[in-house]
């Protein structure tokens, strides 16, 4: 069975389902409510964090992070949630580091972060109201001044959808358990600091918190034991529906449709050529990216965080065998709008290269998914047939691309 979460409605532009705005409003309400009852509307309480007197900020933040993390990866392990569809902020390392340091300055000088200043303002704290006004000036100032360093902001230290699992090359369950242990260690150290700097009496702290820590560790161990679903598991969960699509040939697009889509301004076509390097160098369609089948999983994170709502991906091999395997891998990883070039490069050349003197049909028997043509030179995309002009070709085909409009989940308009 396909994971039911996140709900389908939230994968599409929100305006298609206006009730989704209300859901976000309710989530925001709960967010503000919890911030306020935790004491985050009070700048003195927030600032005390940085003088080791009251580590409420650290405790609330890291309890929230580990609670949400454990529940997220538990849901993913149980097959309820498709983690590939969850928005993971992309890593822009250097803008993150510099921006983080600037935020730290704002935190200790102003006494809030943006979320906490909102609840401070809405509970009548005048310093909170003034901080919100300053924050509005700050976001405005950023939009006006980012131009000169636009390149740096977009490209320096850019790693895309990168997780700690990728960085340390560890299984998800191990990272989850380590983060839980790290948080518990910080809570233990934090309480010691509060006792020293804040003169807090630790014996009055509820014993129940130890039980809570035990539950967190136990859940993290469950996540570790269950493991995260592999691409094969995911394919098994969707294979019936998707095999039907393959067999009814509703995802194999005619070369004419690919050519037309490349010329269509409203589509952003990404061609992924999964053949080996020799074949790719001999001939490929202009604009195609070369990603050998064995390396395809490395670009999945990039495809998942593809911001354009109108991107169509077309997998290409000599016939269809490897292109179909590539399609399966991408579809199993929840990449949207993936199609296969019908008949592959062989079919493409049989249409667009039939009058090209430098491309020769090979005689004799050729294996499945191998080139049916030989070339005088490895010209790559410099053959006429690699870049046919759309208006010169009138081809008959059944259009199959049905673009699913995707919502860009990165809210700040970044990326």
């Amino acid at each position: 069975m396909n994971p039911i979460f996140p709900l389908q409605a939230f994968l599409h532009p929100l305006s298609q389902n206006p009730w989704t705005y209300l859901v976000f409003g309710v989530i925001g309400f709960a967010f503000g409510y919890v911030l306020e009852i935790s004491g985050f509307g009070n700048s003195k309480k927030l600032a005390a964090q940085f003088y080791f007197k009251d580590l409420t900020v650290l405790k609330v933040m890291f309890t929230a992070i580990v609670t949400a993390m454990v529940l997220l990866f538990l849901s993913s392990a149980l097959g309820i949630l498709d983690f590939n569809l969850v928005f993971v902020p992309e890593t822009h390392l250097w803008p993150g580091i510099v921006g983080g340091l600037i935020m730290g300055v704002g935190f200790i000088v102003g006494g809030f972060c943006p979320g906490t200043s909102l609840v401070s303002a809405s509970t009548g704290k005048i310093d909170g109201i003034v901080f919100v006004l300053g924050a509005l000036v700050g976001v405005w100032a950023f939009g006006e001044t980012v131009q000169p360093y636009w390149e740096w902001w977009n490209n320096s230290g850019f790693y895309g959808r990168l997780t700690l699992m990728d960085v340390f090359n560890l299984p998800t369950g191990v990272v989850v358990l380590l983060v839980v242990f790290m948080a518990l260690f910080m809570f233990w150290g934090g309480e010691k600091l509060e006792a020293i700097f804040g003169k807090k009496d630790l014996s009055k702290e509820p014993k129940l918190r130890l039980a809570g820590a035990g539950v967190l560790v136990a859940l993290a161990v469950v996540v570790l034991v269950l493991g995260q679903p592999t691409a094969a598991d995911k394919w098994a969960s969707i294979s019936a529906e998707r095999t039907a699509a393959l067999e009814s040939r509703s995802v194999q697009i005619h070369p004419g449709e690919l050519l037309g889509s490349l010329a269509n301004q409203r589509l952003r076509v990404m061609m992924i050529d999964v053949r080996d390097e020799a074949d790719f160098n001999l001939f490929h369609i202009r604009g195609a990216q070369h990603v050998p089948l064995g390396e395809l999983d490395t670009i999945v994170p990039q495809l998942l965080s593809e911001p354009s709502a109108n991107t169509v991906i077309v997998t290409i091999s000599n016939d269809e065998l490897e292109a179909t395997q590539a399609w399966q891998l991408l579809v199993s990883n929840s990449v949207p709008n993936v199609y296969i070039l019908e008949g592959g490069i062989n079919n493409w050349i049989s249409i667009f290269g039939r009058n090209d003197g430098e491309i020769h049909r090979r005689s004799g028997s050729v294996g499945e998914d191998e080139l049916h043509y030989s070339f005088d030179a490895a010209l790559g995309d410099r053959y006429e047939a690699a870049r046919p002009l759309p208006h010169e070709w009138e081809l008959e085909y059944t259009p199959k691309i049905q673009l699913q409009q995707r919502r860009n989940p990165s809210g700040g308009g970044c990326g």
Partner: protein, 185 residues
């Protein structure tokens, strides 16, 4: 902090006695559950600075639409037919404002006041709050998210960049804390 229980407890929203905050670990678990549900249902976590950014872009779209179409950063938010307010972050920010307001009223903590350290004047506190707000929000947009969108939400999804910038927020604040100790102590 009432010493004597009043014979008739006052019922009004604005004059009920202030109740203490919940225990930090309880608040943290509740916040974690809200964050988890947000991800589970909508694929998005929580956010604050992104929504503020869009509110400002909305104002600019009303006042100076031509300026937006010449500024690449704003173009992505509000260029052409795009409505800058048509985004998940906007209802979250508005909801957070009201959620905080209701929590403050129910618990008797809504009061016009200025929270500050004992050694600075009200005016100085407000000036620094304003400057701090500018810095924080500028940094948040540079980092593509603040404590909510990056540290909390990115942290829970184990995004490498979010963890790096979370460390930097704490590093920046701790690094400067000693030098601005008069603000808070």
């Amino acid at each position: 902090m009432t010493t004597v229980a009043p014979a008739k407890p006052k019922k009004g929203l604005f004059n009920r006695p202030a109740r203490p905050y919940v225990h930090p670990y309880v608040g943290g678990v509740l916040l974690g559950i809200v964050l988890f549900l947000a991800f589970l249902i909508t694929r998005n976590g929580l956010g604050a600075s992104g929504g503020l950014n869009r509110l400002i872009a909305g104002v600019e779209d009303l006042l100076v639409p031509g300026h937006i179409d010449r500024t690449p950063y704003l173009l992505k938010l509000a260029g052409g037919d795009l409505n800058p307010l048509d985004d998940w972050s906007v209802p979250v920010v508005l909801g957070a404002f009201f959620g905080g307001a209701v929590a403050g009223l129910l618990n008797g903590r809504t009061k016009f006041e200025i929270n500050k350290g004992p050694s600075i004047s009200n005016r100085a506190r407000l000036v620094f709050a304003f400057i701090g707000g500018i810095f924080f929000a500028y940094g948040a947009r540079m980092a593509r998210g603040c404590t909510s969108g990056q540290a909390l939400s990115g942290g829970a999804t184990l995004s490498a960049g979010s963890w790096a910038l979370m460390m930097c927020i704490f590093a920046g604040a701790y690094g400067l804390a000693y030098f601005v100790r008069r603000l808070w102590n």
